[in-house]
């Protein structure tokens, strides 16, 4: 027996509401899923691929740097960077605060680093401090649980094994900048790769850097590598054997000591840079760590300018060293015959001014040879008056002054050789005849770099043959181990007659070896050295500076000395400048002598 069904007509009448709702729901879902899976599937498939596939760069092994004898100067050691994975930070502010406390960098610095994050991929570590110490590492490890998202990355770090020695020449490395990155169109570099930022590291970065490798990996949502699909191995950089001789470099740097200045030594037979010292040095191990704004500012604003490579960027008036140029011009132009004598009474009245000789008592009657040996100013005032500034400049240019030597180092300065046209355009004024007298003895507007002076004396020693100065002795191909030696590149001959060079060389020999020569202090028992002293005035004698003040070191003259040896068969040319060293003979000449002797002992003279 069936129970009578209750009368539910009213209820059943309303059921279509439910049915319509359910069918509608179904249709909406099917349409939406269909839209995602049928119409948009290509788009989402691509997104899914890019989600899971990532190309991770592999840092290439940077080439090593040796000196010419195979002494290791720069290599790579394990280093550790402190990084933050933004996506893993639980509480950004408190974590940053804690890290700042732990390793002593300011929160501002950390935030600046995080804000400058390059757009790479999710879960990419952002470096907040490079090359942390073992102690800092231990502190971070001990507090790991308090600072989730902070990680230590193991990387390869550049280490310079001889401290600050030759720091300007070697330079330093650092993370690639956006501007540097923009120069590359291929994928041989990537954001975050270490590249050279100064010195050899910078100019020869293409040799040293190598080529980045890449790893195609499948990653999960947390950036963990799940599978490696393919690896393109990085190509390691090539090693560089520098032309410098570390022992010679050390002699030069020890001799410079705490003085500011530069020493450049060139192998006259091929242009190899045997020594390049610039003091004060900078700590390139520290600079390779990437400094914080404050540390960087302190370096830039340091009055002793440690970042300057004085050997190629320091511009100094050459002082009496320039008399070599004036002498060459006078002989070549025939304005003063070598045997013509003039009488020096300790100065020369020209126009309304009395131009003094450094020796107030005067040199008496001198011809060219003695004028160079004793560095008689009056002789060269006269020579200058006869030549005129433009003719002096002409020979200065022939000897390589006033323009870059083209050495393979960044930011070389050109110096300045004044001419009448230069004065018209730069100073908007006519050349004043008296100015020529200053130029003739290397004062006034004349500015030169130590490397230019080294090239000048090298050209004279070589009787005009000029080799391209270069810092690299050989490159060793990392793949096949072969060393490639660069042949010396002759860049031209100075248009000066052989006899003139002979006269000059003989006079320069006299400077060091003759009685009364200004460079007698450089006289050597090992070899005959030829040279020229120079004293560059830092301040023109101005009456408004008191005598007391003038005794201060910063107002003392720069001491210069250029030399070559042996005179008969030149092998090495040296230029030395000691800032505020006083007379060139006393401060600079001994340094040049030590370097020359060091080299000649070495090459077996």
């Amino acid at each position: 027996m069936l129970e009578h069904q209750e009368d539910l007509n009213d209820l059943q009448r309303r059921f279509p509401i439910l049915i319509v709702f359910v069918i509608l729901t179904f249709l909406i879902l099917v349409i939406r899923i269909g839209y995602l899976q049928l119409i948009m599937s290509g788009y989402f498939r691509e997104l899914s691929e890019s989600n899971r596939l990532r190309s991770l760069p592999i840092e290439p092994y940077r080439g090593l740097i040796f000196d010419r004898n195979g002494e290791l100067l720069a290599h790579n050691v394990p280093g550790f960077h402190l990084s933050v994975i933004l996506e893993d930070l639980k509480n950004k502010e408190s974590t940053i605060k804690r890290v700042a406390e732990l390793i002593g960098i300011s929160e501002k610095d950390i935030n600046a680093r995080l804000a400058a994050r390059k757009d790479t991929y999710p879960f990419a570590p952002v470096r907040i401090k490079e090359n942390i110490s073992r102690k800092e590492m231990a502190v971070i490890e001990a507090n790991k649980l308090d600072i989730p998202g902070v990680v230590i990355e193991a990387v390869s770090r550049r280490e310079y094994r001889h401290g600050n020695m030759a720091s300007h020449l070697l330079g330093y490395v650092g993370e690639i900048t956006q501007a540097q990155l923009d120069n590359f169109e291929d994928d041989s570099v990537y954001p975050g790769i270490t590249v050279g930022q100064d010195g050899i590291e910078k100019t020869h970065d293409p040799i040293l850097r190598g080529t980045a490798g890449y790893k195609q990996v499948e990653v999960d949502a947390y950036g963990h590598e799940m599978n490696v699909f393919g690896v393109r191995e990085p190509v390691r950089g090539n090693d560089i054997y520098l032309a410098i001789d570390v022992n010679l470099q050390r002699i030069a740097e020890d001799a410079l000591g705490n003085e500011s200045g530069a020493v450049v030594a060139i192998d006259t037979t091929n242009g190899d840079i045997l020594v390049m010292a610039s003091h004060p040095t900078y700590d390139h191990n520290l600079l390779s760590k990437r400094l914080y704004a404050k540390e960087w500012e302190a370096l830039v604003n340091d009055p002793s300018k440690p970042l300057n490579n004085r050997a190629i960027q320091g511009v100094y008036p050459p002082g009496s060293v320039f008399k070599i140029v004036t002498a060459a011009a006078a002989v070549e132009a025939g304005t003063s015959a070598p045997e013509d004598k003039i009488f020096c009474k300790g100065g020369l009245q020209f126009g309304r001014r009395f131009y003094r000789d450094w020796k107030a008592a005067g040199h008496g009657s001198v011809a060219l040879h003695r004028a160079i040996v004793e560095s008689c100013d009056v002789y060269f005032y006269n020579a200058g008056i006869k030549l005129g500034v433009d003719r002096i400049a002409d020979y200065a240019f022939r000897l390589g002054l006033g323009s870059q030597t083209g050495i393979d180092l960044p930011s070389e300065k050109a110096g300045l050789i004044p001419t009448t046209t230069w004065k018209l355009s730069a100073k908007r004024g006519e050349w004043i005849a008296g100015e020529t007298l200053s130029i003739a003895i290397g004062q006034g507007y004349v500015l030169t770099t130590p490397v230019q002076l080294a090239m000048l004396i090298s050209s004279v020693a070589n009787s005009g043959v000029r080799y391209q100065p270069n810092t690299v002795w050989a490159v060793k191909n990392r793949l096949n181990g072969e060393k490639y030696r660069f042949p010396p590149a002759e860049i031209g001959r100075v248009e000066i007659k052989e006899e003139t060079f002979q006269i000059l060389k003989n006079a320069l020999r006299g400077v060091v070896n003759e009685q009364g020569g200004t460079g007698g202090i450089a006289r050597s028992a090992i070899a005959e050295i030829g040279g020229k002293t120079g004293t560059a005035q830092v301040v023109a004698l101005k009456p408004n500076i008191s005598k007391e003040l003038l005794k201060e070191k910063r107002f003392k003259d720069h001491a210069l000395f250029v030399a070559f040896a042996p005179v008969s068969e030149p092998k090495i040319a040296v230029a030395v400048i000691v800032e505020h060293g006083g007379k060139g003979s006393a401060a600079a000449a001994p340094i040049a002598k030590k370097v020359i002797e060091g080299h000649l002992k070495n090459v077996g003279h």
Binding site: M1, L2, E3, Q5, E6, L8, D10, L11, Q12, R14, F15, I17, L18, I19, F21, V22, I23, T25, F26, I28, L29, V30, R32, I33, G34, L36, Q37, L38, M40, S41, Y43, F44, R45, L47, S48, N51, R52, E87, P122, E218, V219, D220, A221, Y222, M226
Partner: protein, 371 residues
């Protein structure tokens, strides 16, 4: 009350559909958690146990005469309210919400019980009053109050999804039970006036993560690594499945953990990635069959209690389906609603099984034989 002969009236085919969906669920959970070495029993195996336990609840809910159940509606309701208060005072917190009550061996969520209790309560209330011309405003006061008490308590946990579900069931039931046009219009008017106030009130009750999820629903690209992440990754999973899918265990979005809560709330994304549109369409169709079958049971119910009870269950299942699948497809906010019978988790399985048991219960007693 218990009658062994009822076994002949049991809906075996309906049970077949339930088992089919559960089976698909286990397979998908297996795929979703494949390769992640679990420290204990794997999820798919545990889900198997939960389904077994759920089936026992289903049989229990089917055997006890629903008239008896409906008779105790107010008692069940009162117990539920007490448990909801207890859980607020001393409950276990999980995922930022206080929902769990520890019962020694296992924990359970009183808010799950509230879903069933509310369906039973509404069936009772609207079948007691046999008004054929539709209910008026006065008749709505009591059920609305009875709704708002658990809704308030559940929002306080906070569990937005369940609170919305209860309100949805209430609305659908009064529509089916019959309500005067005038009452609907009045309610609408009152709602429009009070919505800003109520919205503000509810917004204040939400926890930060819930607000974020709702905001992310409106603009998922706002923070692709943060709150919009779930939705974007789920859409990528579904979309990249294409027509045929990537195949079982081949879903890269799933395997590489890009899909969040992949074996629970986002199980549909895993399924759609691996089986494509064809699979998703078939799965949705099976759900449609289940729900339409439920509507038929409600339509053919012997009495008002049965019809409303079944309708309530149908509403619950429909709500689950559209909110969950809609969420994975990016057309619904992420409110933490599981996919019935497929999402991993004992609580959701048991609630669904009990609700389906009630459906079978109504169907079985449609043609009651008297001796």
């Amino acid at each position: 009350m218990l009658d062994i002969k009822q076994i002949y009236n049991f809906e075996w085919k309906f049970l077949g559909v339930i088992l089919l969906i559960s089976g698909i669920g286990i397979l998908t959970i297996f795929s979703a958690t494949y390769g992640f070495a679990p420290h204990s029993t794997p999820y798919y195996q545990k889900q198997l146990y939960w389904i077994a336990i759920g089936l026992m609840f289903l049989f229990l809910a089917a055997t006890i005469d629903y008239h008896t159940i409906v008779k105790y509606a107010y008692v069940i309701y009162a117990v539920t309210i007490i448990l909801l208060i207890v859980v607020l005072i001393k409950g276990r917190t999980g995922l930022g919400a206080q929902r769990w009550l520890s019962l020694g061996l296992f924990s359970f969520q009183p808010s799950e019980l509230a879903k069933i209790a509310m369906i039973i309560l509404l069936a009772r209330y609207f079948s007691d009053k046999k008004i054929k011309t539709g209910f008026g405003m006065k008749d709505m006061i009591l059920p609305a109050t009875l709704l708002l008490i658990p809704v308030g308590l559940i929002l306080k946990q906070p569990d937005l999804g369940t609170a919305l579900l209860l309100s949805f069931i209430f609305l659908m039931i009064i529509l089916i039970a019959g309500i005067r046009m005038k009452t609907i219009l009045t309610t609408l008017f009152v709602c429009i006036l009070t919505i800003p106030f109520i919205a503000h009130f509810f917004w204040g009750m939400l926890k930060g993560y819930q607000k974020n999820r709702i905001l992310a629903f409106f603009d998922p690209e706002m923070d692709p690594q943060g709150i919009g992440y779930h939705i974007i990754q789920s859409k990528i999973a579904i979309g990249s499945g294409g027509l045929f899918g990537k195949g079982l265990l081949q879903g890269t979005q799933n395997k590489l953990k890009f899909i969040p809560e992949k074996h629970t709330d986002f199980i549909f994304s895993v399924f759609a990635e691996e089986w494509g549109f064809i699979g998703a369409f078939i799965l949705l169709t099976i759900y449609l069959v289940l729900i339409l079958w439920g509507i038929t049971i409600a339509y053919k119910a012997k009495d008002r209690e049965g019809a409303l009870l079944a309708a309530g269950v149908v509403c619950m299942l429909s709500f689950y389906l559209i909110v969950n699948v809609g969420m994975t497809a990016g057309i619904m906010p992420v409110v933490g609603i599981p996919l019935p019978l497929m999402s991993y988790g004992g609580t959701s399985i048991i609630t669904t099984m009990v609700a389906l048991g009630l459906l079978i219960n109504v169907k079985m007693r449609r043609l009651l034989l008297f001796y």
